[in-house]
């Protein structure tokens, strides 16, 4: 094959090179200052999160900026944002598998891991937002002496099933793809403890022809289930808003708008993680400029869709003639949140248009920077969906604005730190790239 269509650079000379590079962060006992620095920073932020949650459970949600009007505030916006980030992993893995995109091999493992960690962070926020978090289990249909059942017409109950299914499914999908790599670690690890631990989780995988054939088929079926699942999860999350009667929320565009937004922020996060891993774990032969270029195209497409979605909100507010809808749009453009709203439009729609230029798409630094901007922009979008509508709904006497407190920020940055902390542990314990898929890709590209 010509060098044009290669996804693994010629720096890789044989299959063993792939194994060595991928297992190096795991089986090398000493790690550099970079890992320790990131570990210390993320660990401290995780402690901040633990402190915030402790304070929250001790004092209740009054420690947040939530008030009688903006009852959702940061926690629900953070929930939607984190869950959105948690969508790209399974999508990259499943949709790109079904469409036979070879570049998925370099990204799918850490993208799926990102999904698991981000969805776990997302799942925590609605719990933090409960007035009585210890009654969380009331949402589960379980036999109880009072003879109570969950209210199936409630969007919160749908969320429980969607997010619960999504986290469980993502963990299974991730694990099934991981087993052959655990077998590699079992066979490469030096210490007896490590061999036993990896061996137990490798389930006795031998890589026999029968194993591979069943694995391949099963993995494809899982991918075929994953795609409709991903679409359903953020659609259901959007129903938290769309199933209400609030101005700006009760829109039929919400489910697709949320799904595209989720993929958009998820892909942006994949770029950031890919850039960091590439640099920190020396994965340059596997994560190439071409990977960034194709993701940049996905980001560009999504940014245009987001632009159309925003414009359709304005159009329907005007064309629909609803006074509260029109007032809401006016409020977003001119009210106290206007700077945030302009930033949202700038970050999510305007800045990503730079990716039309091939030179920028092929610059890893530029694509990464734009991705960080997109992630901030998508967070602002989620915040404004919550703040905007709740600040200006039908009852003028209840109009208020949201002012975040220290604890709002502490929990947001704490959750970012915890996400990063989990990732720091992940790269030292499990292979961040799927070795068996890259071996196959390399053999196909080499014709060996």
């Amino acid at each position: 094959m010509s060098a044009e269509v290669r996804w693994i650079t010629p720096a890789i000379h044989d299959v063993e090179d792939i194994n060595r590079l991928i297992t190096a962060p795991i089986l090398t006992p000493r790690v550099g200052w970079r890992w320790w620095t990131a570990f210390a920073v993320s660990g401290s932020l995780t402690l901040l999160m633990i402190a915030s949650v402790t304070w929250l459970f001790a004092h209740g949600i009054g420690i947040f900026g939530n008030n009688t009007t903006i009852v959702w505030g940061f926690p629900i916006a953070n929930y939607v944002w984190w869950l959105g980030i948690g969508h790209a992993g399974t999508l990259i893995s499943a949709l790109l598998l079904l469409t036979r995109q070879k570049w998925r091999g370099s990204l799918n493992r850490f993208a799926e891991t990102m999904t698991l960690f981000a969805a776990s962070m997302a799942g925590l926020f609605p719990i933090f937002h409960l007035g009585r978090p210890y009654y969380l289990y009331w949402i589960v249909p379980y036999p109880n002496v009072q003879g109570l059942w969950p209210q199936w017409r409630s969007a919160l109950v749908w969320d429980f099933w969607a997010v619960g299914t999504y986290i469980t499914f993502s963990a299974l999908f991730w694990y099934v793809g991981l087993v052959p790599d655990l077998a590699m670690l079992r066979d490469r690890a030096r210490g007896l403890g490590a061999r036993r631990l990896y061996g137990a989780f490798a389930l006795g995988w031998r890589g026999s022809a029968r194993h591979w054939a069943i694995q391949e088929r099963f993995y494809r079926y899982m991918a075929a289930l994953a795609v409709p699942l991903v679409v359903s999860v953020h659609s259901i999350v959007s129903l938290d808003f769309a199933a209400s009667l609030e101005p700006g929320w009760a829109d039929t565009i919400y489910p697709p708008y949320f799904v595209v937004g989720a993929l958009y922020s998820g892909f942006a996060m994949v770029v950031v993680i890919a850039a960091v891993l590439r640099w920190a774990c020396h994965f340059q032969p596997f994560i190439t400029v071409r990977h960034f270029e194709v993701i940049a195209r996905v980001l560009l497409t999504a940014s245009v869709v987001m632009g159309v979605a925003y414009a359709s909100e304005w159009f329907w507010a005007w064309y629909g003639g609803g006074r509260s809808e029109q007032h809401l749009i006016h409020f977003l453009f001119t009210g106290p949140y206007a700077p945030l709203y302009y930033c949202q439009l700038l970050f999510n729609v305007a800045v990503p248009q730079l990716l039309w230029a091939p030179r920028i798409r092929r610059s890893i630094a530029a694509v990464t920077l734009i991705s960080i901007v997109i992630n901030v922009g998508m967070w602002l979008e989620r915040i404004l969906i919550v703040w905007g509508t709740l600040s200006r709904d039908y009852l003028p006497s209840a109009w208020r604005i949201f002012l975040p407190t220290f604890w709002d920020w502490a929990l947001l940055f704490g959750s970012l730190g915890a996400f990063m902390f989990l990732f720091m542990l992940f790269v030292r314990i499990l292979p961040a790239l799927p070795a068996h898929e890259l071996r196959r890709l390399w053999v196909e590209e080499e014709g060996g």
Partner: protein
Amino acid sequence: MTGYFLAEFPTARALVAAARIARQEGHPAVDALTPHPVEEVEPELTRTSSAAPVGWVMFIAGSLGAILGYFMQWFSAVVDYPVISGNRPLHSWQVFLLVPYETAILSAAIAGVLGWMYMCGLLQLHHPLFDARVTLRASQDRYLLVFRDAGELKTWASQHLKPLAVHELRS
């Protein structure tokens, strides 16, 4: 698993070529151990995976999951704990479709993982094939064919299949 031996190859291509020769010569390999899927080798082996109906397991479990999810909502909302909320019908089938959608996918996935483990014979952490040290390379960079040793087959294999080496299983 005495009575078996392993022929070791450096590449997937060499493995497939050898497996083809072995089958054409009437001594097909029992199994192949490879560090990544090599689809071309399966038709040359005596054991195939075509009898593993993992898709059906998932389909049946998914359907049952959907039915159970729907029944749970109908039973609780209509029979066991009827609450009129916003004057909506007790049997609000439109929104009752959301939970079965999720339970279908969840049950299909869980059943699929169990089926995959069972059909691959996973959870059996040790296998006699691991008695050969070279099996540890099969998860990394070596391609192995497993043969049942009958008569002079080992000598034949090392002469005709041109493996890197032939490994006997320690009993």
